[in-house]
């Protein structure tokens, strides 16, 4: 079980599901799935992302022992952090995809080196900007938390990712088992 989870982590870390994907993010307008669809068991990728966000909030409240005053501010700032990360990752993916299109195996000479340089510059600038925005988002969150909670939040983020990956793996295995049983 743990080994399988590690393979999922490796997929994410090595990049099999990573930056070269053209769009690993759901657009914001799909983040709220119509209730009717939820009831019918139809979940768009955006709805799943929204559920993961909710899961993160519930788990964070539990892990950080937030009081009522902290909770209201924390939720808004955690959402901001999630949105910042998502938006920048999406922009990063798009530039990498463009670089891949221009320099990948299917690209044919002559290569437009000026355009490639432009995209590399854009990627560097985006990554710098993303780091700054993320830093600001973390600073805003830290303002709500005491120092122990700040530390716990860093640990929590990693543990949460592990829990999410575990759920993802169980979801895949559950469906695969049903398919195997149905044959």
């Amino acid at each position: 079980m743990m080994g399988s989870l590690l393979v999922v982590v490796l997929s994410a870390t090595v990049g099999l599901s990573g930056p070269h994907r053209p769009a690993a993010q759901a657009p914001d307008d799909t983040a709220r799935e119509p209730r009717g669809n939820r009831a019918a068991g139809v979940f768009s990728p955006g709805a799943v992302v929204a559920m993961l966000d909710t899961y993160a909030i519930v788990q964070a409240q539990d892990a950080l022992q937030l009081n009522d005053t902290q909770y209201a501010a924390f939720v808004g700032r955690l959402k901001k952090l999630q949105q910042t990360r998502r938006k920048n990752q999406q922009a990063h993916n798009q530039i990498v995809q463009e670089l891949r299109r221009r320099t990948g195996p299917q690209a044919t000479p002559p290569f437009d080196e000026a355009a490639i340089r432009e995209h590399l510059k854009a990627l560097r600038e985006l990554d710098d900007r993303s780091a700054l925005e993320l830093r600001h988002a973390y600073d805003a969150l830290d303002e709500v938390l005491d120092v122990r909670q700040q530390a716990r939040f860093r640990v929590f983020e990693e543990q949460l990712e592990r829990r999410k990956l575990d759920l993802l793996m169980r979801a895949r295995q559950g469906v695969a088992a049903r398919r195997g049983g149905g044959r």
Binding site: M2, G3, S4, L6, V7, V8, V9, L10, S11, A12, T13, L16, S17, G18, P22, A23, A24, A26, P27, T30, R32, R38, V42, F43, S44, P45, G46, A47, V48, V49, M51, L52, T54, Y55, Q61, Q65, N67, D68, Y71, R85, R86, Q89, Q90, P105, Q106, A151, R152, V155, F156, E158, E161, R162, K164, L165, L167, L168, A171, R172, G174, V175
Partner: protein, 212 residues
């Protein structure tokens, strides 16, 4: 009017801006929904104030290292009994972690070099769905996801999978392998519709109060 669903009740007690006004009005006027919401609020309040002592979050991170230290202190008397060629089997966790990392790096290099010289993939003309996805940034099964559909059948990746099968999480973590925030989300977007429904069911179970 229909009573509030569980998700709507959560939105209601969180005063979510996504809660339709009509549903919020219903929650305010319907005694049954109000009772549900009050109960949910009480549970949340209890959960917030409940001061159950728990070990430091770092406890479990450091636990394997402490166990490894304790084992290392105990082993010397016995390890001398082992044949010289087998002593490496008793090496501490870090040695194993480094060895695992080195093995992974070699495998990844081999996979990379293999794919570098692999024939270029056949480009499928974009359909309406892929064009729409490119415009919105949403993933489309069978295009962006085609790589991971190959993962299940990729022999080289199967080697990585086999190598990682017996690797402990703590060992991988000590060797510097961990999932960055957002990694799970990227993978979640690549699930099939069935898998998304299953994930939603699992998340729903996890979000049920008191694990009920």
């Amino acid at each position: 009017m229909k009573h509030l669903s569980r998700a709507e009740l959560v939105d209601f007690i969180e005063a979510s801006p996504h809660m339709p006004a009509a549903r919020a009005r219903h929650a305010s006027t319907c005694s049954e929904c109000r009772a549900e919401a009050d109960a949910l609020r009480s549970i949340l309040a209890l959960a917030t104030t409940d001061d159950v002592p728990e070990p430091s979050p770092l406890f479990w991170d450091h636990f394997p290292a402490r166990v490894a230290d304790a084992v290392r202190d105990e082993v010397p008397g016995r390890s001398s009994d082992a044949p010289a060629g087998m002593r490496w089997l008793r090496a501490p966790v870090m040695t194993w972690a480094v060895a695992a990392t080195m093995s992974l790096l070699v495998i990844i290099t081999v996979v990379w070099r293999t794919t570098l010289h692999a024939p270029a993939p056949v480009m499928v003309p974009a359909t309406g769905a892929t064009a729409a996805a490119n415009a919105t940034g949403a993933p489309v099964a069978g295009t962006a996801g085609s790589d991971e559909s190959d993962v299940d059948t990729d022999e080289a990746w199967a080697v990585v999978r086999a190598a990682a099968q017996d690797l402990r999480w703590e060992e991988a973590h000590a060797a510097g392998l961990s999932a960055p925030p957002g990694a799970a989300e990227g993978l979640a977007l690549e699930l099939t519709a069935d898998e998304r429904s299953e994930l939603a069911r699992l998340l729903d179970e996890e979000l049920k109060p008191n694990g009920a």
